[in-house]
Amino acid sequence: MNVQFRSKPEPGSSAQAKAAIADCDIHPARKTPQELFPYLAKRWHSHLETYGKHPYQGMMDGPPYPKAQPNASRRDAYPPDGGQQGSSLSFMQQQHLDPNNVVLGVLCPLNTGQGIRNQDLSAALATAINDWQIAEWTGKDSRLKGSIVVANEDGPAAAAEIRKRAGDKNFVQVLLLSRNVEPLGQRRYWPIYQAAEEAGLPVGVHAFGFGGNPITASGWPSFYIEEMVGHSQCQQTAFASMVLEGVFERHPKLKMIMIEAGFGWAPSLSWRLDKNWERLRSEVPHVKRPPSEYIREHIYWTTQPMEDPERRDHLFQVIEWVGWDKLLFATDYPHWDYDEPSRVLPPGASEANREAFYLNNALKLYGLA
């Protein structure tokens, strides 16, 4: 709820009048579950129809908390030709990519096959969703780039999928979710980081996931709003685990992107990590530098949902700590907590920082500059 709005062009003004942006979190959807079948072996068609997907969280399907809008998406984003929000490329172009002058859109498919217990099915769904991204999205609109979805709980299978896609310009990152069976720095996930580093791809960690653990460290809360703010807890766990397990020591070229969990908490967690590392360093001798150094070197942050303090100087102080060169603008289209590009960053940023925030950091990180 920033009060310092930028002026918005009148309806009908040309899209090119707006500055070009990169949107680093777009969610493409399938019109029906069967839309993936052409990319899946026949064996899995009947398996899905007979047994479904069985996630770690113990619910047969769907998210652990009900959403505030249908499909957790904007009510004005239903494609006119049917299907749920985000399931039509042409409508996404018309409603979002064209009018907002999105020159790079990074796809983060959700509700795929991540976090289901049948690892062979998880791997097959990951491959299918990657083929589907090329066939239905990135192959049809060169502004869009895909994420390599992987069977996140099966390190070797995930690494194989990354190696299969390495060098394919349809993809710009590997996609993980924040809620997994174990904290993300642990060894079961190491093959993913090895393969991503070899492929020169950053690893995006998007909020949500189906690892079976509650969103909080002390059990299941009552309300959806607690899940919404709990994403930062999960991301903090992932972030501390990555540093303290020594993942960045093993993979000095690896970049991580924290997607949709905020960044305002990064300084305080880093200060706590540094303070404890000074005292407990001998417990984790593989962590050779203060944790904050790894964080500032390896971690990028998508902006949505944008931090929104009452005083804009507080926002700029946090950004100064995180680094203007580490923020990647994102809208989360078509989800309901979408950030409107023209209303996110209050006045006060330099032109260079503004351009870095909206576009240049993404182009550089994804190797598209």
Partner: protein
């Protein structure tokens, strides 16, 4: 302020809403149980088409566990971020000091007075036999 005739009253029965553009401003007019309300179709928060959202009631609580749900259909909920506004006044329920949706008075006027003017009839043909929905802008 100009008075705009937007529809014969029969064309906007209870439970419906009409979207139109007047002087380049997107407006929506609602008929809620026979009462008419006008709102600018732009959310003051991030600019969504506010009036495409659902009309809900007002959930309030005097104490945890005590919920009063009143004013059914008089609260508009933004289709993006779910911000709630009072359709009568445009008041925001989460941040009333900083945000208000723009509300416009809407009335039903007899054809005889509408024909006399001074009204902007847009493309509506008016006759003395009908009543008309008129928005002040």
């Amino acid at each position: 302020m100009t008075r705009h005739v937007i529809a014969p009253v029969d064309e906007l029965p209870p439970g419906t809403r009409k979207f139109l553009t007047i002087d380049a401003r997107p407006i929506a007019v609602f008929n809620i149980n026979g009462e008419f309300f006008g709102l600018l179709n732009r959310c003051p928060h991030q600019g969504a088409a506010l009036c495409e959202g659902p009309l809900i009631g007002l959930a309030q609580s005097s104490d945890p566990g005590q919920i009063e749900y009143t004013r059914l259909g008089e609260i508009i909920r933004c289709p993006w971020h779910g911000w709630e506004f009072d359709i009568r006044t445009g008041q925001s329920y989460c941040d009333p000091k900083r945000f208000r949706a723009k509300a416009y008075p809407v009335n039903v006027e007899p054809g005889a007075s509408v024909v006399k003017g001074p009204y902007m009839a847009e493309t509506i043909a008016v006759s003395v036999e009908s009543d008309y929905v008129v928005v002040d802008l």
